[in-house]
Chain length 206, copies 2
């Protein structure tokens, strides 16, 4: 891979990498904001940052991961989203509840809460994009069927998860706020499963 800004000598490597990372992030931020997520390519970001596209992949991974870095998402979404792909379809609801609530309960939780707070108040466009394009699209692709594209289902599932997380972590509604993770999974999992794969009349156009 070739970076316009050379990593330089060993002692100078870290500052060089930091600069390159920062240049890529700046370019990505501007590009995502201007063109939106769909119309932004790794190649375009690399061109704007004057680096090789391979270097963007090297530092940030996929376009989704680059976006997560731009919005400073406190955890790598891939770790959680991998569960969406690997869980059996009839256990997807419980698996998502366990993974997402588990992350919020983890040391990364406060960072996510802060991010959600700003998403709920300030200019939430970037975060909404992250939610819709990165998180929900991955779930939708998993549950889509020929007769139901899954868009309504994932929006309902997202609402369910947001509610649990905000009630548990932001507003702290007891006893949900201090309910053990297993109990949350048991209580909310079936509702999630119904939204994702159950009998709901959500395929109608809205």
């Amino acid at each position: 891979m070739s970076a316009k800004r050379s990593p330089g000598t060993r002692s100078g490597r870290r500052p060089g990498n930091v600069d390159t990372r920062a240049a890529i992030l700046d370019a990505a931020r501007a590009r995502f904001a201007e063109a939106g997520f769909d119309k932004t390519s790794i190649r375009a970001v690399a061109a704007a940052a004057q680096v090789d596209p391979a270097l963007v992949h090297h530092y940030f991974g996929t376009k989704q991961q680059l976006f997560a870095a731009v919005v400073e998402f406190p955890v790598d979404p891939e770790a959680t989203l991998a569960i969406v792909d690997s869980a059996p379809l009839d256990e997807l609801g419980a698996a998502i509840v366990r993974a997402v609530v588990g992350i919020w309960d983890s040391p990364a939780g406060p960072g996510i809460v802060a991010m959600v707070r700003s998403m709920l108040t300030g200019d939430a466009d970037m975060t909404r994009t992250f939610l819709l394009k990165v998180v929900l699209e991955r779930v939708r692709a998993r549950i889509a069927r020929p007769d139901d594209d899954g868009h309504a289902r994932v929006s309902l599932a997202a609402a369910q998860m947001m509610g649990v997380l905000i009630a548990r972590k932001v507003i702290c509604v007891e006893p949900l706020a201090s309910m053990p993770l297993d109990a949350v999974v048991e209580a909310v999992g079936p509702s999630m499963q119904r939204y994702l794969t159950g009998a709901i009349d959500a395929a109608q156009p809205c």
Copy 2:
């Protein structure tokens, strides 16, 4: 009823009433903040505002309604909460979804959204109190059984409603954001019903 500040002549009545209302609200705000909702009585508020308790009831109704006025809740909660009392128990989930989403969709909606935004970010204690003491307690009283006090159930139901409202009105996750009310009721009602009266293992201590 006797007000320390006389309403005065007919032409002077409105300013006099406005002052008295404001004095009661100021006293209530201070008292609720200091002593909390449970330990605040209409009588104590009246004493602090130097008016007759009957005048507090006359202007504001119940303690719950006085509290709603203090936190500037944009609608009278009684109108919605009456539904909690009147709906058949096996239709309670759908009835709550219809009533609450209906209010958010109404002209009062933007005021509620603004309130929720501040609740999610700023000092949310008063609003949390409103939610827990006024709204959730009314629902809990309706569903409580000898073997299940309903606390976990209403916290889960509250999370479900918060999520729908935030996804629909604050973050605007489509297609939920523009889904017709009937479709929202059909999709979310059964989940709410399950939280309120269905088979969930939520009675365990948390």
